[in-house]
Subunit: 494 residues, 2 copies
């Protein structure tokens, strides 16, 4: 029974795994006291190399059914808890990747187990409604206490969707509808609009575009994919749209304040050029930190300027917080760090929010029913869990914890970078949403694999970066534990 | 507590609601004995008009947060059971629409409540994994006992996705990848492929197309939307692709056997024409019955011919079973009625299967990791429920029940059509996946509203059709109950 996980203790694993006698091990003395993580383990514990024999057996089985090229290993989610992911071979790893940044408060959080054990919630689990036509009685209340309660400044409206790609696809549609109604001056489509759109032709299906940024990632369905430019393997062989792509600022880290990136001018040029081409830019979409593309940052000044440019040219401004949202930067939304005077028009989310969706300003609400619509439009069982996740975040002050852990993590990365200058560079981050560059792709992958064999689960991004994506329950204690082992890995590979 | 629902009895509602003295009430004597539906109610019970005051209040509340133009009413899912949907005003309706055809075995099925009460399943509910990289230990087993166990003939491989649109989007991508590798003669993209695809340009993002059918519906994300041609409101203002659209056969009902539709020739012409245009057709996508577009049927001969045409021209053949799949036609997959010799290449699903996804032949497996990929790639908690749903379908012989209920429903519709020739026409269906045309849109909507006020929940489709989409637990008893009330509605409105 899963709830029995909570009471177990693994007191000896820390000593066993930290290799305290390894060279350069400098962080143990700084280890913060371990508090309020009763549902966590004490440290990694490795029994086999990863993937172990049971994982390999299961990968073979699954290979009969689907592509398994990306499978890392199989997990024992029942035994996982807090910051630790346990695999099917009994290996316990400190998880700093958290299912591609999608586990908000760790594995098997006791409050979530309790919530899901409540028989009052059974009906929500077995009767998935068509939310757009027949919502459950508590739907407005659950939305209000979950998504609405953490809405970005200036936004009160929100539409849930099933995943990140669907969220962005529908956000793009909302921007196209808004733009065309603005062009029309009213919301009554012509007969020609209606008859031409059925056969994919303009003016009903107009030649509008979304401006995106080189290195950006916004999902893998065909509309999203036309704005994704991080890796060729995502896009290869899939037809796309001729939409403008602006350069993303290329900064030196640490970021200098008040950097004015030239990229802004290029955005304006592209908006003008695409209007002249007859494919006006309805919206500009950008991530606060390009995650999949390599944890690329830009200055708050750049983003504020971009918001102004979008407004000046009559384009919507869409901030994609699918990876950055949910508290990992120390604020609920990464773009809250920018100090925008005029809020974004659309903010999309998924992953840590457990449901996809997007916030939007009033004027971006589709003017008629069934324009932004699908069968499920989200899942109330996910709203239910999200609601409790947000309670935990508030109750345990997790945004403050993230800020504290993030500082410790950045300090540690700066020190390691100074210690291994040929191997590490460009440590950067906000909250625990951190990354560091490795000298080359091959070394990066050796570091990732060696760290995994020592019980640290990390992910790559971009060409040669490592991204840190811990859950919000990743405390200073875990930072130091990680830095110790990471230091060992680097010492071993240098 | 939800499980207490099971034991309640509502013995008097049948008499109260059937209006036995209404004119033309001919079905009561045929009522089949009510068996094996212990978790069901005895009949509709209406307390207010629909939407009632509580629904209107909640609609107003939700209107502060999102577009509510499509909301019918708010539901009390805790009190709903079997074929009956209960609303927040205490109205109990016989549900023949089932959340846009997405509830497989009725509301609060006791076996599903039992499953979700099992503490062993808690972990699956609170730890949603990134299935493509870190699946749970039981993932191959759950896939095998659920989706693989009901795979269409000739298919052993399946990829889960979060919803119907994502399923079709990824199926299209799989067809594009397959087509381009076939064109190349190998799967090694050129440097030009890789560098051009990042900026949305050919040859990396090639000018390929998917051939679809007028009246078809395949979803609302931008790739899917380019193949959807049922209603203008779905497509208006959203940019699209110049892809070929073939006419769907227009048949008289009842369908004559051996009808050879001209549409086949037009498909071949379009495939040739688009190849000449430099936008070769990588795949042909079609629904076995165009659902959203008006429950349009075609002959098995037409579909078999289409499969041959696709093969002849080197195009993939994709059957979209998102609405038709899951048993509602009396077979698990509607296209199993065609007697295909060579199976389809791709079969996509969602709705009643509770998870999205698609089956595919070996050669449609993407050749490399991360080509068909996203964060969640489905949801193990849905596979878990699906597994039990399939057990119930087998244990309760629900496919046979559907065939039996479907015959009773069709017989009843034929009789009503003969009785109200000016109002009803073209009764058609397979299993309980049935529809009937109404003389005009206005009368259709009056029928839908009047039926709802008498406790029968139905949905429209196409310009003037009513579609019947009951759950698989809709027995002959429910058919006769429905026909009685529907007869009253028609008598009242004629």
């Amino acid at each position: 029974m899963a709830s029995s996980l909570i009471s177990r203790q693994f007191a000896f694993s820390l000593q066993k795994n930290l290799r305290l006698s390894a060279p350069g091990c400098r962080y143990v003395s700084k280890a913060a006291p371990r508090t309020q993580v009763e549902f966590d383990y004490d440290g990694p514990s490795m029994k086999t190399s990863v993937p172990g024999p049971r994982s390999e057996e299961l990968t073979k089985q699954l290979g009969q059914i689907q592509n398994v090229g990306a499978i890392n290993f199989f997990c024992n989610y029942e035994e996982s808890r807090g910051n630790y992911l346990v695999d099917v071979d009994g290996n316990r790893m400190l998880d700093i990747y958290t299912q591609i940044s999608s586990i908000p408060i760790g594995y098997n959080h006791p409050d979530l187990l309790k919530l899901m054990s409540n028989p009052n919630n059974l009906s929500t689990l077995v009767n998935r409604p068509a939310l757009g036509i027949l919502p459950p009685e508590n739907f407005p209340e659950k939305l209000t206490e979950s998504l609405v309660s953490v809405a970005p400044s200036g936004m009160t409206r929100v539409q849930t969707m099933a995943c990140g790609s669907c969220s962005n696809e529908n956000a793009y549609k909302a921007m196209f509808i808004w733009y065309r109604n603005k062009e029309r001056g009213h919301n009554n489509p012509s007969e020609e609009d209606l008859s031409s759109c059925i056969i994919n032709q303009s003016p009903g299906c107009p030649e509008l575009s979304i401006l995106s940024f080189m290195g950006g990632f916004h999902g893998r369905t065909m509309g999203c994919l036309a704005t994704t430019h991080s890796k060729a393997i995502h896009k290869l062989d899939v037809p796309s749209f001729d939409w403008p792509i602006a350069p993303f600022p290329r900064l030196q880290y640490p970021l200098e304040e008040f950097t004015r990136e030239n990229a802004q001018e290029e955005v304006e040029d592209l908006i003008v050029k695409w209007r002249q081409k007859g494919k006006p830019v309805a919206g500009v979409v950008i991530e606060p930190i390009q995650a999949e593309g390599g944890d690329n940052h830009a200055s708050s000044d750049f983003f504020r300027g971009l918001r102004d440019i979008a407004r000046k040219h009559g384009c919507a401004f869409h901030v994609d917080e699918v990876q950055t949202g949910g508290g990992t930067t120390g604020k609920m939304w990464a773009h809250e760090h920018w100090g925008l005077e005029d809020p974004a028009d659309i903010v999309s989310f998924s992953k840590k929010l457990l449901t996809g969706g997007y916030y939007y300003k009033d004027e971006f609400q589709a003017d008629k029913a069934y324009r932004i619509f699908n069968t499920w439009m989200g899942d109330p069982s996910k709203n239910l869990i999200l609601s409790e996740v947000l309670n935990v975040i508030r109750r345990e002050n997790l945004l403050e914890e993230v800020t504290r852990s993030g500082k410790a993590l950045m300090n540690g990365l700066f020190e390691l970078q100074a210690q291994y200058p040929g191997m590490l560079s460009s440590a950067r981050g906000v909250g625990t949403f951190c990354a560091i560059d490795i000298c080359d792709d091959e070394t990066r992958n050796r570091i990732l694999n060696t760290a995994r064999d020592k019980g640290i689960l990390l992910g790559g991004c971009g060409d040669r970066s490592i991204r840190f994506r811990p859950a919000l329950v990743f405390k200073e204690y875990h930072v130091h534990l990680f830095l110790n082992i990471f230091n060992d890995v680097l010492a071993q590979l240098k």
